[in-house]
Amino acid sequence: MSLNLQYEAIGKGFVQQYYALFDDPVQRPNLANMYNVESSFMTFEGTQLQGSVKIMEKLLSLSFQKISRAITAIDSQPMFDGGVIINVLGRLQTDEDIPQAYIQTFILKPIEGSFFVQHDIFRLVLHNTA
């Protein structure tokens, strides 16, 4: 497959759609459709998860009710298999907590004219030293 030159639009469109589902507790379970049952990986704060079932278990176990987000940057690149790699830099606020910076990286894998999330890596931007 060749490079998908729509990578920029795909990246932005995906991120918008993904967080719209994530940030709405009612819709969050629908994120399951973004991942593959077997061949999706997530690293959530250092915890390795494979497959949509484990990934959704993790996402649905998060205890906050409300989440709001401000996206600072979405950087995307096309991949040689027709996929797209996306890096998000943003801030999120859960309930009444103090806003926290985070980074999240997605790799979208093409499948039958669409994509699924093959890789998803999430970290809050917290350091070991002040």
Binding site: F44, S63, I98, L126
Partner: protein, 211 residues
């Protein structure tokens, strides 16, 4: 104001158990809160005078709070560093928060300055008696098994809040007193040695931890 001791306590436990309210109650709503965004820490300071062995010690107490990142299980080592006492809170009306205490203790032992640091377990929200799901004997039995003290608290009414902090302070002061000779203090884990001795390996070195 000068002080004799700077003592750092951490408040730990699942989100929503009332850590922030607890600390707020203790400081009468008056505190210097400071947030360090790079490490995700919110901390308050309170000056107090603690009587120990008939002597007054001026203490600058730092109370460290998470800033919500415990929801993601993301507490960095910076958070635990140099903490001398641990307030471990769960919500008496929330079974899961009680079950998670075991994990918090594991985390704490991994990151704290020694494997048996001073911990006080608090069953918070004791004012919500009609919604309670954790019986007092159950929490008490659990704490006894772990060898830590247990109190039922209410950040809303102030029940036992100051008593818990005092109890923890007392434990920490005792440990500090006994650690002075051995030069084993937080932040020096595993490197304890008699400062008067040369820095050579000593085969008769005693236990490296005062705890």
């Amino acid at each position: 104001m000068e002080y004799d001791y700077l003592i750092k306590f951490l408040a730990l436990g699942d989100s929503g158990v009332g850590k922030t309210s607890f600390l707020y109650q203790y400081t009468d709503g008056v505190f210097n809160a400071r947030f360090i965004s790079t490490v995700g820490i919110d901390f308050r300071e309170k000056r107090l005078v603690h009587q120990y062995k008939g002597r007054n010690h001026r203490i600058n107490l730092q109370l460290w709070d998470t800033a919500g990142q415990e929801r993601f299980r993301s507490l960095t080592t910076a958070f635990y560093r140099d903490a001398m006492g641990f307030l471990l809170l769960f919500d008496l009306t929330n079974e899961k928060s009680f079950l998670e205490i075991r994990n918090w203790i594991e985390q704490l032992r991994m990151h704290a300055y020694c494997e048996t640091p001073d911990i006080v377990l608090c069953g918070n929200k004791a004012d919500l008696e009609d919604r309670r799901v954790i019986k007092e004997w159950r929490a008490k039995e659990f704490a006894d098994k772990l060898g830590i003290s247990y109190y039922e608290t209410s950040a809303a009414t102030g029940q036992n809040v100051a008593i818990v902090i005092d109890a923890l302070l007392e434990k920490v002061m005792i440990r500090m007193e006994s650690a002075v000779d051995k030069a084993v203090l937080p932040g020096r884990r595993g490197r304890s040695r008699d400062l008067n001795e040369p820095e050579e390996y000593s085969p008769v070195a005693s236990s490296s931890c005062s705890c």
